[in-house]
Amino acid sequence: MNIDFASIEMLFYLAGAVAVIASLKVVTQKNTVHALLYLVVSLLAVAVCFYLLGAPFAAGLEVIVYAGAILVLFVFAVMMFGLSVDETLHAPQSRGVAVWVGPMLLASLLLLELLFAIDSIDIQQKLTANIVDARQVGKLLYGSYLLAVEIASFLLLAGLVAGYHYAKPDSDMHSVLHSQHKKNNPRSS
């Protein structure tokens, strides 16, 4: 039995290996920002897996929503934490290339793989033969899954309200507490 190294299976296993390695790095990393870098690579690897499984719409969503929006949310939150206080003191100082060479190698591996898959006519034929495209997804989403879409919109609204409520600065909370305190015992101040 000879193994064809240029087949869809091999590309899928390679992307899966990249996803597993990057996820392990996410879990074991000390520094938050380095872990976020590896998380981006992991999500991109999973997106390549989706593409090879014949779901290019899901792959695009993975890149745009997960790697594009949710990870940026993470980065902004990390900036707001000011982790220089408790995290980066214990982590080794930035050593130039050594920080980003791992994620870059994994990401360039994924890029090479994707370019190879797009370039190879044989793989393209096999991929387009069993594709589940966005039209089918949209029909199903706004057909039999309409109620689920409505519930998801409620969920997003709840997330928006909760995020706004919790992340509000503490100042007005203090003033509310202070005024209540005054109301309860007016002679104290």
Partner: protein, 102 residues
């Protein structure tokens, strides 16, 4: 039918899920726990897409989109809670929440 066997897709999904679960259990930093939760949700998405492509149905991708919205809402609320935690305790250690006595 795709060229990739369903069993291998499910294996990849379970390995990713196990890694994320390990992260949630082992790490003390709440931010890392949130990231591990992302990895776990992603693994579930891999399983759904694999099943959807195995049976050539779009249901898998629909479920993936719903998981995506769930992850977005979860991250928004979780990060807002973490910002509040950081303001209150100056730390992201999950053990600090022990004072809740819950």
């Amino acid at each position: 039918m795709t060229a990739i066997p369903l069993a291998h897709v499910l294996m990849l999904a379970s390995i990713l899920f196990a890694i994320g679960f390990m992260g949630v259990i082992v790490r003390k930093n709440t931010l890392f726990m949130l990231m591990s939760l992302e990895v776990m949700l992603n693994a579930v998405g891999v399983a759904f897409i694999g099943a959807g492509s195995y049976w050539q149905q779009a249901d898998g991708q629909v479920m993936f989109i719903l998981i995506l919205t769930l992850a977005a809402a979860e991250v928004a609320v979780g990060l807002a809670l973490l910002i509040r935690l950081q303001h209150k305790y100056q730390s992201l250690d999950i053990d600090k929440l022990n004072s809740m006595q819950g």
